[in-house]
């Protein structure tokens, strides 16, 4: 099979999970760009990618680096989150009503908690699938999800009250 065909199959397999995870972590615009950067990196380093045990997990980390760089570059244009960091949630999503409710609540979570809870409870991924994408253990995902859900409930109640 030609190299390009192999890569195209790889993209078809990995891209949905990778994009979903990064978009869940960083928002629509930044997350998709990060997924694209990660896949570009994969094509440039294909000989390395084929040796990886968990390529989607590795590419998620590549995407995290790319997203953080992008966020750093644009930090001045983003509103600060409560802990002083630039918001990781893309402002372009704010046209959706649900985003207005969920996103402020998600901002109180750590990055890992946020992605875990959105993947598991939002996208319906299993703990194992989520662990693979995040390149962490199933137990870690379980704990992040449990903690995130508890905090989210509290945060969303506060939001609703306002």
């Amino acid at each position: 099979m030609a190299l390009r065909e192999t890569f195209e199959l790889f993209v078809a397999d990995v891209e949905p999970r990778l994009r979903t995870a990064l978009v869940s972590t960083y928002g629509v615009s930044v997350g998709r760009e990060a997924a694209l950067d990660a896949l570009a990196w994969a094509w440039s380093h294909w000989d390395r990618v084929v040796t990886l045990d968990n390529p989607v997990g590795y590419l998620y980390r590549v995407g995290q680096t790319a997203a953080r760089h992008q966020l750093r570059q644009t930090a001045r244009t983003l509103s600060p989150s409560p802990d002083g960091h630039a918001s990781a949630v893309d402002s372009a999503q704010h046209d959706a009503e649900v985003a207005h409710i969920v996103e402020p609540a998600l901002e109180v979570l750590s990055e890992q908690q946020r992605v875990a809870v959105v993947l598991v409870h939002g996208h319906g991924m299993t703990l194992r699938e989520t662990a693979e994408v995040m390149d962490v253990s199933v137990a870690t995902v379980r704990e992040h999800t449990k903690r995130a859900l508890a905090r989210l409930r509290t945060a969303m109640e506060v939001t609703d009250a306002v």
Binding site: L3, R4, F7, E8, V11, A12, E15, P16, R19, T20, V23, S24, V28, L36, D37, L39, A40, W41, A42, W43, S44, H45, W46, D47, R48, T51, L52, D53, Y58, R61, Q64, A66, R68, H69, R72, Q73, G84, H85, Q93, A96, V98, I101, V102, E103, L109, S110, Q113, V118, H121, G122, H123, V136, S137, T140, E143, R147, L149, L152, R153, M156
Partner: protein
């Protein structure tokens, strides 16, 4: 049945799904541009091992040193040890960088950057050595080394002249750079002193109190730390080792080529371009010291750097002038890190932490340790993320005691830290506040739970002392030369870094709980 929160998350996920266009391979090719139509062929590389995740921590382990007596000069016959000459001034032009012919016998199969180190081929080729062999031999040699004096000569690119300095295994550092200028670090006071000439030629002085090691003056005046393991802190993806004779002294040359993707655009680059940074280090086999360090990059924004160490003399004491003095009437710049370390003793630890503290009492031998108390932000939790500057008023303050167990220049750093939550403050998400300190409490049972195990990391149970029964998460460098161990005991995080696995386990077995005077 879904709760309201879960239903909102479902809706939100659906919103994300419908707002995001899928990415196909064609878009990937477009992103990379015409220059990346096909991936370039290169040697197969190993996946990044879990240890790399700890490399940022391990890379901070500083193995330090100082001045004195017997040694090894470039113009001596190989292996000769001479009594010290007493020379402390700056030597004439370095002799290590004589013209040489590269030895073609590259041991590793990784790509071989163009040799840049001045050296001559070994007359009698030794059996092939690996980077693990080099690390083992380096540590053996460095354990025996009490200290040394040497002349560090930067490459032309650094725009400075040679500097003669002395480094002892306890971390003491001193360089008399002439004309009233000098730089020093005194581990007994955790202080650096510096006298230098500013742009107007006037003498200026600086005193920094609260440095846990000598890395600042050593890197400024010496150019690099010659007592580190060659090629450590890398992913070991592309490592080549070859044997050389440098001025008659058996040596190894370690070349590490580290390739990573570019994530920022410049006018002549694109995102996704590879950047390859090549580090070439030459290790003197007898002393274990790195005697030449070169760093170059394919990124035009990163200029090459090189420093050569010559005229090395073994030393076991500092020169008489150490640590030098700043004139009483001088204007001194004492600006520095507001969260700086300060010297402390074992007896002070319980009051510093305001509770009993676990520490390897038997190993300290009265050593002065560094303690810090600094506000930290949540970003510092993420080893892959951006390390934020401490924020004034942050709710969490990290208290840390750090000390080094030394055997010659082979050092194992032990740190004991805990994160106090300020009165009225909130712990970080996912953490609980127990007895004033924050800690993971995954079961919400009021007891600190051990941290998550990193994928691929190993663990063992500590058998003796205050940590007996506690599970330690361990990982090792790719060559096995250095181990990392992390333990959670109540609110305390205990890290042991830099020693081999056996030494690390031994240290963890020697902890005792200190309850104060």
């Amino acid at each position: 049945m879904l709760s309201d929160t879960e239903r909102s998350l479902r809706d939100y996920a659906e919103h994300l799904r419908t707002s995001t266009r899928p990415i196909d391979a064609a878009e990937v090719y477009t992103r990379l541009g015409a220059g990346h139509a096909e991936p370039t062929s290169r040697a197969r590389r190993r996946p990044v091992p879990p240890w790399v995740r700890w490399s940022a921590v391990a890379a901070t382990v500083t193995v330090i040193a100082g001045a004195g007596a017997v040694l090894i000069r470039g113009d001596e016959s190989p292996g000769s040890i001479t009594t010290p000459t007493g020379s402390s001034g700056v030597e004439s032009s370095p002799t290590m960088a004589a013209s040489t012919t590269p030895d073609p016998s590259v041991v590793a199969s990784a790509p071989t950057p163009a040799p840049t180190t001045a050296a001559t081929p070994a007359v009698d080729p030794e059996p092939p050595v690996s980077i693990a062999d080099v690390h083992e031999a380096q540590r053996t040699a460095l354990r025996r080394l009490p200290g040394f004096s040497a002349t560090a000569t930067p490459g032309n690119d650094r725009g400075r002249g040679p500097v003669r300095y002395t480094l002892l295994a306890d971390g003491s550092f001193y360089a008399d750079t002439g004309g009233g200028t000098f730089g020093s670090y005194d581990p007994s006071t955790k202080s650096s002193l510096g006298a230098y000439r500013d742009a107007d030629g006037e003498l200026s002085y600086q005193e920094i109190v609260g440095q846990s090691d000598n890395s600042l003056p050593l890197s400024i005046l010496g150019g690099f730390d010659p007592t580190r393991l060659a090629g450590d802190g890398t992913t070991m993806q592309d490592v080549a080792v070859r044997e050389l004779d440098v001025e008659g002294r058996p040596s190894w040359e370690i070349t590490v080529a580290d390739t990573y993707p570019r994530f920022s655009r410049t006018p002549d680059t694109v995102v996704g371009d590879d950047i390859t940074q090549t580090t070439v280090q030459v290790v003197d086999q007898e002393t274990g010291l790195i005697v030449r360090s070169e760093i170059s990059s394919t990124d035009p924004a990163q200029p090459p750097q090189s420093t050569t160490l010559t005229d090395i003399e073994i030393a076991d004491e500092m020169p008489p002038g150490f640590p030098d003095v700043i004139p009483a009437d001088a204007v001194v710049d004492r600006s520095g890190d507001p969260a700086a370390a300060r010297a402390s003793t074992l007896e002070d630890l319980p009051s510093f932490f305001a509770r009993p503290v676990p520490a390897p009492v038997g190993l300290l031998n009265g050593q002065v340790m560094a303690v810090t108390s600094s506000s930290i932000s949540i970003g510092q939790m993420d080893m892959f993320g951006e390390h934020e500057r401490p924020e004034d008023g942050a709710a969490v303050v990290e208290r840390r005691a750090e000390f080094v167990v030394r055997e010659g220049f082979v050092a194992t750093t032990v740190s004991v830290s805990a994160q106090a939550v300020r009165a009225g403050g909130e712990p970080w998400p996912g953490m609980a506040t127990i007895d004033g300190y924050q800690c993971p409490d995954l079961d919400l049972d009021g007891v600190c739970d051990p941290p998550d195990t990193q994928p691929g990391a190993d663990s063992f149970a500590v058998t003796d002392g205050a940590l007996a029964g506690v599970e330690a998460i361990i990982s090792a460098s790719p060559t096995g030369a250095m181990a990392y161990a992390g333990v959670q005991l109540g609110p305390f995080q205990i890290f042991v870094m830099g020693g081999d696995l056996a030494a690390t386990q031994e240290i963890l077995n020697t902890f005792e709980s200190i309850t104060g005077p």
